[in-house]
Symmetry: C2
Subunit: 490 residues, 2 copies
């Protein structure tokens, strides 16, 4: 047992340091003085190099060679530690350092290029990032598929081929739903001015209703909402805009889904590899089911309509049906993060196909803007009006996140599967949602998914939660067809 215990002690300290690094990012996005950026980059760099040294520490290999897992959870810990160690040591130290340095710089270049709508200013550094990421992917793949090796960082065990098949299954139905919705008369967006302090108060109330534990977390404002931290300190952020309260409220519910996953994991596993959400896809399944299948359901909208009128007075929506339609309206737009439940996945498929082509070498960075614009026009039916609304809209590629985008849609697929199982398990859920009480749903999700953390693989996690049924796109598509077929009868 000595090797196992020593390894877990060492790993626990590494996990604690990773929490510290994560909190430093939280600080940067919420409270950091604006003149502290350069110093902060050095502080982050120092934390990263401490963490990298620990993740590639040769003692980990020795302990792994000798350690015996005492139980099932111990076996999962060893599996996750081995996986992390093997991935870390496969990447040459020089390459890891060069990537860290480059992506710190390239994010700034991207932000400026986006502000200036100038893809040419971003292309050279993106080429450098792509070159290093391909090297990293090749080192990780060890002869296997380079894109899959990058994807594996975010969704262990997933492959592009399998995701492609899943997305192919969805594509036609999504396009059909989109066309039918956008051909008809456009549903009205909400209009008016909504007190931002009242938005935050309602956000806090919704967070509590969805089970967020404020004694182990907090809500702040940030430019881009995110969740951060795990165990007993899982924080979320949201944003307010005077003319769009839904952005605030649904960003909050989304991030609460992420944070409740981290808060819901068995306490015994805090500060261990099993004590985190198991993958980006499963994480996104929680945020999406909280936000969409629960938060945008007709039943919950009944409740929210009343609460919004309490909070803001007359909100310019004629009745409950109109409110539900407004919350769920399909609308034209360029921006992934503002997309509705249907079109969101089309945004992802576009990025997935383009980034695979970039990684394989079938697409050159210099041709990326044109490829994006062509594909967008083909999929959405209108041209991109400026690079900030097109190829420059997302931060991901600038910081080397290749293989990340598809996990968003995978999360939607998983949310569809879980929602189907949840409705079977809690047949009267709508009665509770209509009272503003998602507890039967969040309790079920905690028991079925959240508390297990990284005990099983992502796919197994969803399969077990769904009573043995393997994940597929069918439940999500059925849910979307029913919901949007109803809203947009065509």
């Amino acid at each position: 047992m000595a090797a196992f215990d020593d390894l877990m002690t060492f790993t626990r300290e590494t996990e604690a340091l990773a929490q510290v690094a994560g909190r430093l990012s939280w600080d940067q996005e919420t409270v950091m003085p604006r003149g502290a950026g350069a110093q902060r980059a050095e502080e982050m760099g120092a934390m990263e190099s401490v963490l990298h040294a620990r993740r590639t520490d040769p003692r980990v290999a020795d302990w792994l060679a000798q350690a015996q897992a005492p139980d099932e959870a111990g076996a999962a810990q060893l599996r996750l530690i081995r996986r992390s160690y093997e991935r870390a040591v496969r990447v040459p130290a020089d390459l890891a350092t060069a990537l860290a340095r480059l992506t710190r710089r390239s994010q700034g270049v991207w932000a400026e290029a986006r502000a200036n709508n100038d893809f040419a200013a971003f292309a050279p550094v993106l080429t450098e990032v792509l070159t290093l990421k391909r090297e990293e992917g090749a080192a990780l793949a060890g002869g296997g598929d380079v894109y899959d090796a990058l994807l594996d960082a975010f969704e262990p065990g997933a492959t592009a081929t399998e995701l492609q098949a899943m997305f192919d299954e969805m594509r036609e139905g999504l396009v059909r739903l989109r066309l039918r919705a956008l051909e008809g008369p456009e549903l009205r967006a909400i209009s008016g001015t909504f007190d931002e302090a009242a938005q935050m108060r309602l956000s806090r109330e919704l967070a509590e209703r969805f089970g967020y534990d404020f004694t182990r977390g907090r809500i702040d404002k940030a430019v881009h909402p995110f969740s951060s931290g795990s165990g007993d300190d899982a924080r979320i952020t949201t944003r307010t805009s005077a003319d769009d309260p839904f952005n605030c409220l649904y960003s909050t519910i989304h991030e609460v889904g992420h944070a409740c996953y981290e808060q819901g994991i068995d306490r015994d596993w805090h500060l261990t590899p099993v004590g985190h959400g198991v993958s980006m896809g499963v994480h996104e399944s929680q945020s999406r089911i909280y936000e969409n299948q629960l938060g945008r359901s007709r039943a919950f909208c009944h409740f929210l309509y009343g609460r919004m009128r309490d909070a803001f007075g007359e909100i310019g929506v004629q009745d409950e049906d109109a409110f539900y339609a407004t919350v769920n309206r399909l609308h034209r737009g360029y921006i992934r993060t503002e997309a509705d439940e249907v079109q969101y996945n089309l945004h992802i498929m576009l990025r997935f196909d383009l980034e695979r082509a970039l990684v394989s070498g079938d697409l050159q960075v210099r041709d990326l803007e044109a490829a994006w614009n062509d594909r967008f026009a083909a999929d959405f039916g209108y041209p991109v009006d400026r690079p900030a609304h097109g190829v420059l809209q997302d931060v991901h590629w600038s910081v080397g996140l290749f293989g990340y985008f598809p996990t968003y849609s995978l999360g939607n697929v998983y949310a569809g599967c879980l929602h189907e199982a949840l409705r079977r398990a809690v047949p009267d859920l709508d009665d509770h949602l209509a009272q503003g009480d998602p507890t039967p749903a969040t309790d079920w999700l905690r028991a079925a998914v959240q508390r297990h953390g990284g005990l099983n693989s992502p796919r197994e996690t969803i399969t077990q939660a769904c009573g043995g049924q393997a994940p597929s796109a069918a439940p999500l598509m059925a849910y979307l067809e029913e919901k949007f077929g109803d809203l947009y009868p065509g």
Copy 2:
């Protein structure tokens, strides 16, 4: 140059990590969710062990053996790195670990004992802390004086003998001032209810007036005000209480003094050993001169009286003279942190004498409460009414801070020296202060003291700022005699 450069690169990363650890403490005192305490202790422990490993890294000794300083600042860096390394390696690793673990626990025991007014509940763990601190002091002293070795951590180069001589010089005058003031009719304290948001707004205004750079810092509320961080991220905290706006305003000015010292250091030295305030005593000289000699001056009170009436309306003080007297009133009280400029130093002398006796073994922990109560009654003329107002009031000893208290009074002494030199350098300072503009003073302090950081020893720092005059208690005593002789003519 290679060894010097390598050493500075390594040291800079250590400094960056120390900033991260400091920010974690800031987070804990300001924004941390209340349920995150146990996890946070592990995170702090992990950071401390990373920092300890770096501070005792054998490569530092190798680099120090070979490094050549390129210039005067480089020589100061080497001196400070050598000092830190030698102190760190003299303390056995087991002892350092045991102390870190013990003081984390003992702080909680102290807090509970204070809440229950039960010194006996605290005595056993304080005995343990004292035992380990004496061991640590002996290891550091290498045959020299144990108390001096502990004091040296906070005030490099200072000795108890020299401080004792300084305090002896002050004692009689302080007692005389105190007796004269408290024999006469007591000056009125401010009374009323003061909007706490308005206190914070005025705090921010005062911070700006005293030169605090909000682009490289921020103000939050905390239970006990403190300053934290350096370079481009030097934050402060304050507190509000509806019936005592001065607590908020003068805490803010005090912490602004600390933070301006850190913000005022030459940029080239950020994230290096020279890039910090040189000692606790010199640090306290900045906070005290901002708070007292500037902030509580008659001229600045003229300005503040007007601003407080703008902020709070009628504040129940009849005129400017009464306002000045209220701000500077001497008053009976048990608590060091609430004491006025005169009696504060008597609180320190009491602690200094008791902690020296504890460290030397002349006083046992079991006799500490009685010793405190006897000394307090003798010095202040009335008995301590409960342990929370006496021996249990300060956190310091519970976390092993022996040798720290005297630096507060040393800071007052240094502030007295600097104030004398400042008044010579800026003869029309009162005209500016009366307009609410301390800039000529803060500019002088920045140039004379702050920008040098740790370039010279603490004593040299003050001596040079005062045009070659070595520090003594005389200027402080002359300032106090004049100010309080005027307020309390007896």
